[in-house]
Amino acid sequence: MVEIKNLTKYYGRNPAVRGIDFEIRDNEILGFLGPNGAGKSTTMNIIAGFLPSTGGTVIVNGFDITEQAAQAKKCIGYLPEIPPVYPDMRVEEYLNFVAGIKGVKKADRKQQIESAMERLRITDMRKRLIRNLSKGYKQRVGFAQALLGNPKILILDEPTVGLDPSQVIEVRNLILDLKKDHSIIFSSHILAEVSAVCERVVIINKGEIMAIDTIENLRKSMVSKNQLSLKVEGDKDKVVRLLKDIRGVGDITDINFISTGVYTYKVEIETEDIRKEILSVLVANDCGVMEVSMATLDLEQVFMKLTTQTQKRSSLEELLDESPADADEPDNKEE
């Protein structure tokens, strides 16, 4: 549906995007993930035909975005980071205007606007001035605008920023619903956001792609097989001493105070089998075990790990299987 080849963009002498290659397949939701300033918005602006690239090509539905701009742009619905709305217009009037500049035929306009308003649940707001709408509603009006003209490709730049949690869920459901007849690229710097709706993710940092992989692999890589997370009631030093005496227990890190006499621990273990032993030793010594679970890297840690990499990797797994010294770095900082 969309092919991006060797895309490069310089702002003056500063590279914003350097030689990016990826594709958006038919009817898929592609997550575009990266920290602030990674080049997400720049890339999306180029795909949408707002900014010209310094080098490389973008082919949208068979049309080159620079050579056959008008045809390519007709296939794209774009919701930029700041919703492009006119504060002095009313919602319906604005959507009518956008349908006009997108070349939607007069006969189809009314129906398209109605269905876009219904999808975004702004039908009640149709007569309101956009300036009087809350941030969440402005965002929805911006989203509705992107749907006009039935574009095959939707480019959504951080569509959930500024929405309240229930609206976030609504937008997620909407995106999942739109997947049926659209290809969607969706950017975010929030991993949970992306993992909730996307099948594949492109992770970008400092203008370069760090990894392109499926969300399953991302989830899988987040579980750390040889770490146990414990929440124990009892003297901290005693617990640490007891644990250290057990054969097969490695480093004990991340000891955090929860409440009086209760701490959490991250325990490295050689095999999963010693879990039982750990429990029985603790219970026998009068330490109340409150929680046991396999430690997972939390999303932020994964993200930190992904975006602090300097080298390009082919898959997430490869990225996450880096040396443990590297991996623990964010943890140490937190202590």
Binding site: Y11, N45, F50, I82, M89, I101
Partner: protein, 243 residues
Amino acid sequence: MFSLYKKELQSFFFSPFAYVLTALFMFIFSLAFALQIGNLDSNTLKFSFPNIFYNNFFYFIFIIPILTMRSFADERRGGTEVLLISSPLSVFKIVMAKFFAIATVFLFMLAFSLFFPIVTAINGEVMWSSLICAYIGFYFWGLACIALGMLLSSLTEYAIIAAILGEIIMEGLLFLDNFALTSLVAAYPALDSIVKWFSLQHRFYYFAQGMFRLEDLIFFLSAIAVVLAWTTIAIEKRRWSRA
């Protein structure tokens, strides 16, 4: 393109903007009109509407940049430029739609000022042919200034800066007009012809005399075309060099 034209018109007429500017225009016109009547020669009882335009260029010239200041600066500021440029419309069409919208507002202002000649015609006699010629000349002069104002608006993000830049340029043009009439310029025929060639007011002078010269019309039309093309290029260029 028509949708954009319509939206632009609405932004003028659904807000007080067009009306306040028209009122200002009428106010300037009415003061000049009152002065003309006060100065009536008791023998001939004649005065000239074209002279009102001609003598009040200094005031009229300040209205145009206010009319054009928001055209592109506000789009940039509000983030709606993205919407326009990522739409299937080409930049040239966007420029043209905005130009025609402002031209329509200007026409609306001018149409209102016909009130004075009509009142005069009821109570006296008006030379309509020469008056219409002056109106055409004034309209084209206005269009050239509108194109210029839009160019300035495309260069900045702040409408007010576009307006101030516009006033400066207009003041410069006015200086050129007055400079063309100085004895210094008259002393050098080559300089004289160049300065007069570029002087908008000088061009208007012929229209005000009731002379419809193709040369002047072509001058205005080509000036408009060049400046609008420049505006298109300025917007395209900014897309490339944005930092």
